[in-house]
């Protein structure tokens, strides 16, 4: 007997009322896409349950993929048998033998009320079968090493042993689209990840200032995006040629305000991309008080230029928490590569930590940035990053 499917549990989604159908459908689709390297694996649904039929594939790599799909609360390797006491007993024995455990507990649940034995009775029947047919195992109902779950449903009985935690959250795509301001640092990929966790489909925008920022910095952003794609669907990256506008800001505006004004320009351009792409919000890695540009006053000044919602998933996090997540999602090592990005060049000696809206508006009114903003928007290069976007650049060598 072999594990033949993986049982998928969706926690929070079950609370979503009338929308539940679309949530579950999105989860099923997302999961099926993720499993496309496993041609025989099929994602199926019946009566409030979702499972992956392995059809001969090894379970471990598929479990690893499932663990990264948002909307899955937990999962278990399962055996499916007919609603037959003998078959159930055998399968439970198999599950126990495979588990690395000394103590166990049987938790039967009879959903199909036509089944002749009740839940408690099944606990005893299966439990005593396990004790009789094994050596060295004991029952522990309080803190067992493994809990053998027997779920008797109308269509079949499912036997599972261990519960594996899923990524939680909601299926990517169910919460609409947001445009992530992606710099290449530690924060913005984490912000993107957390937005995705709440079901957001991302697009990303990156401000590129050659020759001040290099090809390596641009590649870094694409590599980070690729890591995020691992948690959802393909992501469009909009690369904005920012050099001219940035130079103009630093030439025309006082040093102390240049940083704030540059950020306002970024928001303006981002909003324009949102309009073009039908995106309803921005997502940033901003965090309260972390650096000078992220004081309350600074956010107030920058936010003035857009009335789009700005999602700031990191707003109340400690830096250490953000770093922990970035390590977990494998973006940390890329983020710390030491390439200049558009926020680290032209750092003024003493940026205003408490910029004022009225002052900034007066300053901006002195110079017409319009043409350069238009030019930047017109020059945007859009790149699709997909799970499969392997570099074909070196195909003739590798």
């Amino acid at each position: 007997m072999q594990y033949d499917h993986i049982l998928i549990r969706y926690g929070e989604m079950a609370l979503k009322g009338k929308n539940i159908r679309s949530f579950i459908q999105a989860l099923q689709e997302n999961l099926q896409v993720k499993l496309k390297d496993f041609p025989n694996a099929k994602v199926k649904r019946t009566q409030g349950r979702m499972f992956v039929l392995l059809n001969g594939h090894e379970p471990e790599p598929i479990i690893e993929i499932c663990k990264k799909v948002f909307g899955i609360h937990s999962l278990s390797l399962a055996l499916k048998v007919e609603n037959d006491v003998e078959q159930i007993k055998e399968a439970a024995l198999e599950a126990l033998k495979k588990a690395d455990a000394r103590t166990f507990k049987v938790a039967a649940k009879r959903v199909d009320k036509n089944f002749p034995h009740g839940s408690l009775e099944m606990n005893q029947i299966v439990g005593s079968h396990l004790l009789v047919n094994t050596e060295g195992y004991t029952v522990d109902v309080h803190e067992p090493d493994v809990e053998i779950k027997v779920e008797i449903r109308e269509e079949a009985t499912y036997i599972t042993s261990e519960n594996i935690s899923g990524a939680g959250g909601l299926p990517v795509g169910t919460a609409g689209k947001s445009l992530l301001l992606l710099s290449g640092g530690i924060d913005s990929p984490v912000a993107g990840y957390l937005a995705m966790k709440r079901g957001v489909q991302l697009e990303a925008i990156h401000f590129h200032s050659p020759p001040y920022t290099s090809e390596r910095a641009r590649q870094k952003v694409l590599d980070l995006t690729k890591k995020l794609v691992g948690y959802g669907k393909s992501i469009k990256v909009h690369i904005v040629p920012f050099t001219k506008l940035q130079q103009e800001i630093f030439r025309e505006m006082p040093d102390s305000y240049a940083m704030t004004i540059m950020r306002r320009m970024m928001f303006r351009i981002a909003e324009a991309v949102c309009e073009q792409e039908n995106i309803l919000s921005l997502t940033t890695g901003e965090n309260l008080g972390q650096v000078a540009s992220q004081t309350m006053e600074s956010m107030h000044a920058i936010n003035e230029v857009t009335n789009y919602p700005v999602i700031r998933p990191l707003i109340a996090m400690d830096k250490a928490e953000v770093v922990d997540i970035s390590k977990e999602i494998d973006t940390y090592e890329i983020s710390i590569l030491p390439y200049e990005d558009c926020c680290t060049i032209f750092v003024p000696k003493s940026p205003k930590t408490r910029p004022r809206r009225d002052k900034i508006n007066a300053l901006e009114a002195r110079h017409d940035f319009g043409p350069s903003i238009e030019e930047a928007i017109a020059g945007i290069e859009t790149i699709h990053i997909t799970a499969k976007s392997e570099d074909t650049e070196f195909e003739d060598l590798l």
Binding site: R216, L397, L398
Partner: protein, 379 residues
């Protein structure tokens, strides 16, 4: 020519040589250089690592390009020993390892380390229970090869890995030079911390190889300098070498997927034919790797057979090439407890996916003839 010495080295694949040449010419820059050429070369190096990682089911930053198996084994063994000697100075290995593991461990004995050398059975197999018994409070490293280079014996790496996972303080190194592309090895399932591979055993070039170093495993580097290869192997990266290694890896993995049956069929054919020749004893285990077959013809000096076959352009070897310079006895066969007449007359046939059934037939006929001739002379 019938080349049956593929465990010593393989014939480089022309496309691997081409990849090396092209990469050398076009991506000559130092990957650490800040300019665009450096950037492009670094990107090539990174892409090569990513692809290697996906073939081996590991992470790109866990890939270190080395000069081959010997270097990988030395970086791993000495690196763990020197880095973690404060935790303990005990190392476990087996009696049938490649000299680069063997000698590296022995060299550490001169620095005050203790080495337990596990015994093997008559087929060269390590017993997992022996591994367990050998583990001590101060054990920091267990180094066991996957496929034995002389016999083709496949060690129970997954079972050993599972056992070792109960001992979080020690590291598990596997020399997988002989198994790459021939015998499946799941680095994750076997919970391996360090794993060595070589390019020239898979139709790549000499001087190329990969060492897998699991994240969070720290090593004392053998080379200090500019901190290349995660600080484990300073010196300007061998970009073309790494690139050609990945090309070779791609090709061998494709063959492993599609042609394992072909290799096994040749192996089975040889087994049946050789077994029926009078005076031939097969030393390899029946369930060993599909590309290695070790046999002895007691009473005939193996060199004689090698030279007789060599005249017909058929190339096989005595024991392993790396220890062929030692006198007479095969250390591996001796470790299996085989009698001296067997251990001094070992011959190794090692196959590649590129060999053909017809070659097997011609080899068997020639071997029979050689043995026959020799016996004629003696009579």
């Amino acid at each position: 020519m019938i080349y049956l010495d593929n465990s010593a080295t393989t014939i480089p694949d022309p496309s691997v040589v081409e990849s090396y040449q092209k990469a050398s010419e076009k991506f000559f820059a130092n990957p650490s250089s800040v300019h665009q050429l450096g950037g492009a070369t670094e990107k090539l190096l990174q892409t090569a690592k990513q692809q290697a990682a996906s073939f081996l089911q590991v992470d790109a930053n866990e890939i270190i390009f080395t000069s081959g198996g010997t270097e990988g084994n030395n970086i791993a063994i000495k690196g763990i020993a020197l880095e973690h000697q404060n935790r303990g100075k005990h190392i476990i290995t087996t009696a049938v390892e490649h000299p680069s593991v063997d000698e590296a461990c022995q060299s550490l004995e001169t620095l005050g380390f203790e080495v337990t050398v596990l015994p093997v059975d008559e087929k060269g197999l390590v017993d997992v229970r022996d591994v367990k018994e050998a583990i001590r409070e101060d054990t920091i490293l267990v180094s066991i090869m996957h496929v034995n280079n002389e016999l083709g014996t496949i060690q129970p790496i997954e079972k050993i890995g599972k056992l070792l996972s109960n001992y979080p303080k020690l590291y598990f190194h596997v020399d997988a030079v002989q198994s790459l592309g021939k015998v499946p090895l799941d680095i994750q399932k076997a919970q391996i911390d360090l794993c060595s591979f070589s390019g020239h055993k898979i139709h790549g070039l000499k001087g190329t190889g990969i060492l897998f170093v699991r994240k969070q495993v720290s090593l004392f580097p053998l080379f200090h300098g500019g901190g290349q290869e995660n600080g484990l192997r300073s010196g300007t990266e061998n970009v073309a070498g790494g690139v050609s290694m990945v090309r070779a890896l791609r090709l061998i993995k494709e063959k492993q997927q599609n042609q394992t049956n072909h290799l096994q069929a040749m192996h089975d054919y040889l087994w049946n034919e050789l077994e029926s020749i009078e005076g031939v004893q097969i030393n390899s285990p029946h369930n060993g790797a599909p590309h290695i077959l070790n046999l002895s013809v007691p009473g005939i000096k193996p060199e004689v057979i090698i030279h007789m076959l060599g005249e017909k352009e058929i190339y096989i070897s005595t024991k392993s090439a790396c220890s062929s310079k030692e006198k007479d006895e095969s250390k591996v066969l001796a470790a299996c407890g085989l009698p001296r007449e067997i251990t001094i007359s070992g011959l190794r046939i090692s196959l590649s996916y590129n060999n053909t059934q017809e070659e097997m037939e011609r080899f068997v006929a020639s071997l029979k003839e050689a043995i026959h001739q020799f016996k004629e002379v003696l009579r």
